[in-house]
């Protein structure tokens, strides 16, 4: 989906860099990268390093970085919205209204990216420093400990076995419950079907009124 955008505005000095949070590595990511036929960098992040550096707790999460290497939009949903929560879990069908709002959110985000590609920091989509700072959720000590537990879990999963890794994955999820990557990566390593299975849906339902993908800050000027 980013390839078309890149073809359209890449010549304006714009480049997507995708990062796959996939601890199973190239084997897991390859089919998707090949079908995207991407000509921008598609990177593999088995240790979820970028997630930790930028405080990304889900996918797809985007961060916009200007020509000087300054962050102009903090981690936020990259066009995904909560419409999927209205999906029928058996037929995978979404009500028309939810589909329309999902499409609109995605379209708005892509239009925002194009505007930024054209106008850079002059684009209203490029946020001011204080707006970017407001969007960050600085990691707490619990989050730092969660990241260390997750790293230990990935190491033990690869070097020992799933049972050795499990308590560390569980602790990471307990310490940072808002981090969906910890949950879904651990489920996927256990059984790829699990990441989108009953465990996932019951965790989403447990959110109640809270968003899965928080709405993003839209331009006001």
């Amino acid at each position: 989906m980013w390839q078309r955008l890149y073809e359209e505005v890449g010549a304006l000095g714009f480049v997507p860099i995708t990062v796959a949070f996939d601890s199973a590595g190239v084997a897991a990511a390859r089919p998707w990268i090949e079908s995207a036929k991407s000509t921008y960098p598609s990177l593999i992040d088995t240790g979820h390093l970028v997630a930790e550096l930028y405080g990304m707790v889900n996918v797809p999460i985007g961060v916009w970085i200007n020509e000087q290497g300054r962050i102009v939009r903090p981690p936020e949903s990259a066009g995904a919205s909560d419409g999927f929560r209205e999906m029928d879990q058996k037929t995978f069908k979404m009500p028309e209204e939810a589909m329309a709002s999902s499409r609109a959110a995605k379209r708005a985000y892509i239009e925002g990216l194009k505007d930024w590609a054209r106008r850079g920091d002059e684009s209203p989509w490029a946020l001011s420093e204080s707006e970017v700072l407001r969007g960050f959720q600085p990691p707490s000590n619990e989050h730092a400990l969660a990241a260390t537990n997750f790293a230990m879990g990935l190491h033990l999963f690869a070097q020992v076995n799933a049972a050795a890794a499990q308590p560390y994955f569980a602790e990471a999820q307990h310490l940072h419950p808002e981090n969906w990557s910890y949950k879904r990566q651990a489920w996927a390593l256990d059984d790829p079907a699990k990441a989108g299975g009953p465990e996932f849906w019951s965790a989403v339902e447990a959110l109640g009124d809270k968003p899965y993908y928080a709405p993003i800050e839209m331009p006001t000027r």
Binding site: E52, I61, V160, Q185
Partner: protein, 137 residues
């Protein structure tokens, strides 16, 4: 042998069965493993030197070794030890991640693509970078 996960890398290190809360590394290997070196002014990495707390030096340094677990805890970094597998994980302190983000300077990283070619974010300086996560799961 034990394993130490630190700075997103994995290193073989000597096991230290006698003290489960201490990980003593030979000072000659300290820099290659952790990035820290012992100097007269303290424990140094890049331009930063951390003086060891007065009177507690023996917790951190002996004749030829350095207790990286004790030092990391002193620095506010999470330290985990998985006894059965002899694995250690030392994470980044929350404050160091937070202050990096507060600077709004995009943290650099280097990761491979599918062909194993490494790319750093800084290679793309001068362009507008849309950094976006995804996953197969």
């Amino acid at each position: 042998m034990a394993t130490l996960l630190i700075n997103n890398q994995s290193h073989p290190v000597p096991s230290s069965a006698e003290r489960p809360d201490a990980l003593w590394l030979k000072t000659v290997t300290l820099e290659a493993t952790t990035g820290w070196t012992l100097k007269p002014e303290g424990v140094c990495r890049d331009e930063v030197c951390v003086p060891l707390p007065h009177g507690r030096e023996a917790e951190f340094v002996n004749s030829d070794s350095f207790n990286i677990a004790a030092f990391a805890r002193y620095m506010g970094q999470p330290v985990l030890h998985d006894h059965p597998s002899q694995s250690w994980a030392i994470g980044e302190a929350a404050e160091s991640r937070a202050s990096a983000l507060r600077s709004l300077h995009a943290p650099d990283f280097t990761l491979p693509d599918m062909a194993g070619v490494e790319h750093s974010l800084s290679d793309y300086r001068g362009r507008k970078v849309f950094l976006v996560s995804w996953a197969s799961w």
